[in-house]
């Protein structure tokens, strides 16, 4: 009986320790990803050794030429199902990881925003599905006036 109680209490303690990292811990676990100066390092922090491949079901809409690197319009979407996370990288930015989106039950994986680009660079969208695989789309944006000064 005592042993059983011990196990029960132990279980609750374990849950208490684990649940914050399951529900609110992305930044605690991955804040470092935003500090890496190369896209592969940032991706490694987020996804470890997960396999990635270009996928036509992943769509990255960016202009071919951006006159103002301070605000480059980006739309990211995918027709893949079981999407759990999306992340966006600008390879040549000082800090390549731009943002991470987590996909909730009612979220439609189709987002638009405006990003900063310091110079002409590849933009990479990574979509992670439930099975842990990574699906990517890459496009180059030519930047006339960089937006990473200030």
């Amino acid at each position: 009986m005592q042993r059983r109680n011990f196990i029960k209490i132990g279980g609750f303690i374990a849950l208490g320790v684990l649940s914050p990292s399951l529900y609110a811990g992305f930044l605690e676990d991955h804040a470092k990803a935003f500090t890496f100066k190369s896209a592969p390092e940032a991706m490694g922090d987020l996804y470890g050794q997960a396999k990635s491949a270009a996928d036509s079901k992943v769509e990255l809409k960016v202009p071919d030429i951006a006159e103002n690197g301070g605000a480059v319009p980006v739309t990211i979407s995918t027709t893949l199902s079981d999407v759990v996370e999306m992340s966006l990288f600008v390879e040549k930015n000082p800090y390549p990881l731009i943002a991470v989106w987590q996909i909730n039950e009612n979220t439609i994986p189709d987002f638009s925003t405006r990003i900063r680009m310091g110079e002409t660079s590849n933009v990479v969208l990574v979509v992670k599905t439930k099975d842990g695989t990574l699906h990517t789309a890459t496009k180059e944006v030519k930047v006339t006036v960089g937006g990473c000064g200030g």
Binding site: A99, F111, G147
Partner: protein, 97 residues
């Protein structure tokens, strides 16, 4: 600071446009500026989170965000909240139209 929202429902899908007043400032040793940027942006609808974003200084000043979510009705409310790296937070409630 300030959050502006345009949110429209068509069928059961809400299209939400957010405009947040925030500098999204990079650290700059030359000008002694410290970084100030939104780290977490959440939108909730009826107790469920419908948008979870972790931005960085790579997102432009005064961030513009567009997204869609299912299960929405005209008259429902959404709660938009953000937290930046200095600990500053802001939130607001908005009607779906």
């Amino acid at each position: 600071m300030g959050i502006k929202v345009i949110a429209k429902v068509k069928d059961d899908v809400a299209e939400v446009k957010l405009l947040i007043k925030h500098p999204m400032q990079m650290a700059n040793a030359k000008t002694n500026k410290t970084a100030k940027y939104i780290q977490e942006l959440l939108v909730k609808h009826g107790g469920k989170t419908v948008y979870t974003m972790y931005p960085s200084v790579g997102i432009s000043e005064n961030p513009f965000i567009k997204f869609m979510f299912k299960g929405a009705k005209v008259g429902d409310k959404i709660n938009v909240s953000w937290k930046d790296n200095t600990g500053e937070t802001e939130q607001g409630e908005f009607d779906l139209k």
